[in-house]
């Protein structure tokens, strides 16, 4: 057991991958000399050199596409995109090439590529640096979408992502980089299942990424009111581990999904749909969700806070379900 930050956990995982497999290299904007926008790759250039820790021009389309090509050519690239908002410049390559290639080629060409990017709000970076567009990627068959929300997952998800024969996108919530926690030894290295982060029998809170800690805070407050909330961390946004949250809802009979994405067409909508499809007759109340307000993320702190899911909003949603409003 060691106490490290989410950022350090990511860096350790990168370093381990670079040490263990000569095919692995990291590329992206300012990953080398600058040390990474969020300082994740700090020190790696010095240790592994500019061939394997490769600074790129500000060309998301080209360097993500080059990552796809390099993966096809036998390498195991890790491509860092500064934020999910910028990844839209590379959306064509990710969706039209990386995700489709294996199926479209009749199974001949897989793309073993890992793309890392920051996501989410909470740092007053305003509308073009703060959105949560994970669900756009989770919509597309052919890619896996991961959302490490803990130090342990930040440490453990990269290795299985690199071992996966298909493209994997890792979303690192920008608010989590400074999160500090104990890293268990051995740590989990699983990219298939959701995790139950807290046990409870009265309501199931389903969250991922930056919203996990908010759901856990809400669960603490609910406990003070005598409500035992179960908290599920989705961890894997595609393919969704439906069994884990449906099993929980069948027990608690109530569900609230917490999602930093906008409500319309959100991951929360998909999770709720699956609950309704598979556990409708187990529900004691209509399932609810707490999402971001449908506005571009504002700069001013109070407005940003108002736009985001917050523990108080989650508590209110649960009270509504329990008839305690």
């Amino acid at each position: 057991m060691r106490r490290i930050t989410y950022r350090e956990a990511l860096r350790e995982a990168l370093r381990e991958a670079l040490l263990q497999d000569a095919r692995v290299f990291l590329m992206g904007e300012d990953v080398g000399r600058y040390g990474g926008t969020y300082a994740v790759s700090k020190g790696l250039l010095e240790e592994f050199g500019p061939e394997r820790v490769r600074d790129t021009p500000l060309s998301e389309l080209a360097f993500v596409g080059a990552g796809i090509g390099a993966a096809l050519g036998g390498m195991r690239p890790i491509v860092e995109v500064m934020t999910v908002n910028f990844s839209l410049l590379a959306l064509d390559q990710i969706v039209n090439t990386a995700a489709l290639l294996r199926h479209m080629s009749g199974g001949q060409f897989g793309v073993p590529l890992v793309i890392r990017m920051a996501t989410g709000a909470g740092r007053q970076l305003a509308a073009q640096h703060s959105h949560s567009l994970e669900c756009w990627y989770a919509h597309v068959p052919g890619i896996k979408v991961l959302a490490p929300a803990t130090v342990e997952d930040a440490r453990g998800m990269l290795a299985p992502a690199l071992a996966d024969p298909d493209p994997v996108i890792l979303f690192e919530h920008a608010q989590l980089y400074n999160l500090e926690d104990d890293l268990p030894e051995p740590f989990t290295a699983d990219i298939a299942r959701a995790a139950v982060r807290r046990r409870g029998d009265d309501v199931t809170l389903i969250a991922y990424g930056g919203c996990l800690s908010k759901a856990l805070q809400a669960a603490d407050r609910l406990a003070d009111e005598g409500i035992a909330a179960e908290v599920i961390d989705l961890r894997v946004l595609r393919p969704l581990d439906t069994d884990t949250f449906v099993e929980s809802v069948r027990r608690t009979h109530r569900a609230v999904v917490v999602d930093e994405g906008w409500r319309s067409g959100s991951l929360a909508a998909e999770v709720l749909a699956r609950i309704v499809e598979q556990a409708f007759y187990d529900l004691d109340a209509p399932p609810a969700r707490v999402c971001s307000e449908e506005v571009p993320m504002p700069y001013a702190r109070h407005l940003e806070e108002a736009a985001l899911p917050q523990p108080a909003k989650i508590v209110d949603a649960v009270r509504g379900l329990m008839g305690r409003r």
């Binding site: 050519g73 390498m75 064509d92 039209n96 479209m104």
Partner: protein, 331 residues
């Protein structure tokens, strides 16, 4: 102004000279048959014919080694064929059969073949360029000695992917041979109507990429340019860009009524047709007789007949296998 038809001596031994002709004929006959089959409803979706442009794929792919990578566009039947993908598998793919080179998942626009390192079949204009840069990066890092040939039309030059890829390839001195097939029209948009700078080499050169220009209707000019450029790329000289000036004799796709160009223009370009001008030169030089030409043509048509029979006899993928090949083994 349309230049004079290609002429002059063919500087190759007879066997190689005739192989170039045979390859152009194979593409031509395969595509003529494809158009016919489209009319019969055997081939559906989009079908983009390469007729008129055969000298480009023939001359350029003739300059590659078997281990090299090839990235192409949605007008790629000829590239696949000359790369070594069996005509049977190409035809079966257009039929949507399981025996097709993409198991019926791709169709005309998405031919793929791992065995010959044919990376498709990309229907996003410009989409293949970053991919080619990445393949070349992998080869550089693994010191394989391979080069990557990337074909695209002049329409791709307007895409950001072109500019970003030129920059990246030049910055990292990647072994890519960029083969721009300038057939003057991006679907129906003439190059003067879409490019502020119509000198395509100037664009590539502005990124520090070595450039050359060749008559894309002349298989000899194409081959010579591609050979020299490929050698330079393979020797570590960084990427090369070749503009092949060519012309598409048929419509953009089978849905195109061709309202954007004069019939007279098409007819004038037909006088520069890559097959008949090259045959005439070979005959003048005494490398080819009319009987021999007919024999090569018969052989091409025979191959096409066999491919059609193969595709007709092909089987349909069971619907239960709809979702196969979505994720790789061990995923």
């Amino acid at each position: 102004m349309i230049p004079a038809p290609p002429s002059g001596p063919v500087p190759y031994p007879r066997a190689f000279a005739l192989r170039l002709l045979a390859d152009m004929l194979r593409i031509r006959r395969m595509e003529e048959k494809s158009a016919e089959l489209y009319g019969e409803g055997k081939i559906r979706g989009f079908l983009h014919l390469y007729i008129g442009e055969e000298a480009v794929a023939t001359g350029a792919i003739g300059a590659l080694r078997p281990e090299d990578n090839l990235v192409a566009t949605y007008r790629e039947h000829g590239h696949a064929l000359l790369r070594g993908v069996a005509m049977n598998a190409i035809m079966a793919e257009m039929y949507g059969k399981r025996e097709g080179c993409s198991r019926g998942r791709g169709g005309s626009m998405h031919l793929f073949d791992a065995a010959t390192r044919f990376f498709g079949g990309n229907a996003i204009v410009g989409g293949g360029l970053p991919l080619a840069a990445g393949l070349a990066l992998a080869d550089r890092m693994q010191r394989t000695g391979r080069i990557t040939a990337c074909f695209f039309g002049e329409g791709a030059v307007a895409e950001g992917a072109f500019h970003e890829s030129m920059n990246l390839a030049a910055l990292w001195r990647l072994p890519v041979l960029f083969c721009c097939e300038n057939n003057l029209y991006a679907m129906g948009t003439a190059i003067e109507r879409s490019e502020s700078q119509t000198d395509l080499c100037a664009k590539a050169a502005s990124y520090g990429v070595a450039t050359r220009r060749a008559d894309g209707m002349d298989v000899v000019a194409v081959h010579e340019a591609a050979k020299e450029a490929a050698e330079s790329v393979r020797a570590g000289g960084g990427p090369c860009f070749i503009e092949f000036q060519t012309y598409r004799f048929r419509a953009h796709s089978m849905f195109d009524p061709e309202l954007y160009r004069d019939k007279a223009e098409v007819e004038a370009w037909r006088t520069r047709g890559p097959i008949h001008t090259y045959s005439a030169r070979l005959k003048t030089q005494g490398l080819l007789t009319e009987d021999e030409f007919q024999e090569l043509d018969r052989a091409a048509m025979e191959e096409v007949r066999g491919a059609v029979a193969y595709a007709e006899a092909g089987t349909l993928e069971p619907v239960e296998d709809l979702a196969r090949d979505l994720c790789g083994a061990g995923a």
